[in-house]
Point group: C2
Chain length 424, copies 2
């Protein structure tokens, strides 16, 4: 050991090797054993309420001293309710069906071979996250249920909280007779550890899921030498097509933007068919403003409402994550689809219309992870999709896309059963 | 332009941009239009028999002057039969179901939202291949049918042949009213073009499929900054478990090794349960030798047959691709599975046994792309799996695994239909 980075590299490579051994054990672990680990971890979390709160207090104290923002502090802070929610999250994953071993497809060949495509674990999943300590439990548990080993790298600001939660996961694994290496927490806050994960730990890192802001996700996307499930941002569009029902348009626009402005599925741009400017556009803009939203609009939009801030070119590619929305009129569905193709981050887009033909065209031509008709973009969520839980949302087109739930954390293999067939 | 590499980079970046525009058109092209392009291309191939043969003659002449090997020359050489087979291959892809738009799964949510997972194209697929000019048509057609733009980079040795075949594909595309940019052939033999593809053409390369020897695939796997569907080698195992039927074991062993020794699904290592050494092992080894196979075995194997070459440690990780097989006795299924976990290339492994429990354990615990029971490893092929055609076989666990057919050349998106739902 000649310097610190070499030491971090050694630590991380050893972590990777232990993860591979654990992944091999997990790949064939019965559902009951994985579920027992999760249930026991939930029990340990409830029993360790005091310890977790104490650890969290240390992180909060340090965070305040470092002058972290109020929203950051909120994400970091745990209380009894939030800790109970973490335990409930683990219990909920117990109830989800185990994807491993499930048969995706099966068919017979004329020569009598029976072929099946069967789900298998992916292997080792790295999760790199920031302030939210609950990700430690959520992500670790989802990886485990899908038969994967997890290497978790929490933010340095939530280091003590994550460590306290992680020790409960380790207790659960041990109580179920599984290796505690199945869910490992990177034991150092040195940023070089992230670099090692991105380089792939010598083949012991199969996919990385970054959870956090644009800075973190951008770095991971840029530097990772292994596959990444992620979305950099959610520039989601709501298009009010000329066949739209006015009330649905108003309700959905307000919900899509204002229900929660800080999530990736929040609408950021409103496109309104020019023929509906007065009938639908005006009341939508007013309803948004009444709900507290600032409109960044074109000159035409400014003629429909007061206090419209002139939209600049940048606004069309801005993820506000706040009570702001960009708005413009479009000539027709073709222009709306073209605008989305140019500016969207391929996350979620929704069309509001009673015209089925227009809806079908939008759903077919817009190539985003999630395309919607007459529904709020805020439904872009694994829980809302019925996946039970998600580890994130992906906007790439490889392997996982949209909410990344248990199924997306698996691979598959082909199982071929014969009775002595040889190939002619 | 200050140097040649800059020019190649410019050419390739322009190719990528044209491919993206074509991919956008293809994504929503109707099945009939894509099929028409393929049928017309097949017609053009048949009509251009003379031109293709002339172009091929140029490549052969150059190859002979360069002193290429006999097997290389065989792969390069076209005749009327092989050209007709290329046309038939295109016609066969016409008959395959179009994966784009097919619904993988659909479900209703309690709030009335109907959610569907729908297949979409991947985007732009790069195919890098060596001497076989038929890959130009096979790969280009498969990419097209799945709605993807293709950028094909054939070997410099088959440059004229590939160009002649490619011009037929372009005719087909144009006859169907599709952009000829949907299937582009890299117009230079400069190796820097491959480097540009591996770097991702500035976001205009979604996945690369290398088709060729270990040198090519290894370079692509090492250097590619985009996802790769590939297998470096096929070190396939055949395990004769203690419950094996002797005749099935003999027939399958000879077929798995000797039917065609140069394909990736050929068996390279034979594992025999020690209790079957005399009863099954001996006749299997003799049958292999009678078929012309050289045995590289342990001392125990050498006691069962004459002329056994002593196996060295290297033999267990060697893909012979010739009439050679490595062989050893194992104590039990656990040792067989452990040997496979250590030495396999995760391509295809088969167990021969009448014991269902042993078969199930092998199929569950061996984590290769294809696991078989009582069948020859030579069935590891997209055509034999009923996929109609394959662009290659992948041993990675991300997105595609095993034979890469039309479905594996697609992604998906979520289509959500509502009637005004907002999220509470």
């Amino acid at each position: 050991m000649t310097n610190v980075n070499e030491t971090v590299s050694d630590i991380m490579m050893a972590l990777g090797k232990r993860a591979r051994a654990a992944a091999s054990q997990l790949a064939t672990a019965p559902t009951e054993q994985k579920n027992k680990a999760l249930s026991e971890a939930a029990k340990a979390i409830r029993a360790s309420m005091e310890d977790i709160l104490k650890a969290n207090a240390k992180d909060i104290e340090k965070g305040k001293a470092d002058g972290i923002s109020a929203s950051f502090l909120d994400r970091l802070t745990l209380d009894e309710g939030r800790i109970e929610a973490i335990a409930q999250g683990l219990d909920a994953i117990v109830t989800l069906p185990d994807p491993v071993g499930s048969i995706i497809a099966g068919w017979d060949r004329p020569n009598g071979l029976h072929i099946e495509r069967v789900r298998t674990p992916l292997g080792i999943i790295g999760v790199i996250y920031e302030s939210r300590p609950n990700v430690t439990a959520d992500a670790g548990a989802l990886c485990l249920k899908a038969g994967n080993a997890a290497i978790l790298r929490g933010g340095s600001d939530s280091f003590h909280s994550s460590r306290a939660i992680h020790s409960c996961l380790a207790k659960g694994l041990e109580a179920a007779g599984l290796s505690a290496d199945a869910i490992q927490l990177v034991p150092t806050t040195d940023r070089a550890a992230v670099g090692e994960m991105l380089k792939g730990l010598g083949g012991n890192m199969d996919v990385i899921v970054p959870r956090g802001g644009k800075g973190l996700v951008g770095r991971v996307q840029e530097e990772a030498r292994v596959p990444v499930f992620s979305h950099l941002e959610g520039i989601c569009h709501l298009y009010i097509e000329k066949g739209a029902d006015a009330q649905k348009a108003i309700d959905i626009a307000v919900n899509a933007k204002m229900r929660r402005t800080g999530i990736c599925g929040a609408a950021e741009t409103l496109l309104i068919d020019r023929s509906l400017a007065e009938s639908h556009g005006k009341p939508i803009l007013l309803a948004l403003q009444e709900a507290g939203c600032t409109i960044h609009g074109t000159e035409e939009i400014a003629q429909l409402a007061d206090n419209v801030i002139p939209a600049k070119e940048d606004d069309w590619s801005t993820e506000y994550l706040s009570a702001d929305i960009s708005a413009k009129l479009v000539d027709n569905i073709g222009e709306a689809i073209a605008h989305i193709a140019t500016y969207s981050s391929s996350h979620t887009e929704s069309i509001i219309t009673e015209d089925e033909e227009a809806a079908n065209r939008f759903l077919a031509e817009v190539d985003s992870a999630i395309v919607m008709h007459n529904a709020s973009t805020q439904f872009a969520d694994g829980g809302e999709f019925g996946m039970g839980a998600e580890i994130g949302i992906a906007t790439g087109r490889m392997h996982a896309r949209g909410p990344v739930g248990l199924e997306q954390l698996t691979s598959f293999k082909y199982r071929v059963r014969g009775n002595g067939q040889t190939r002619p």
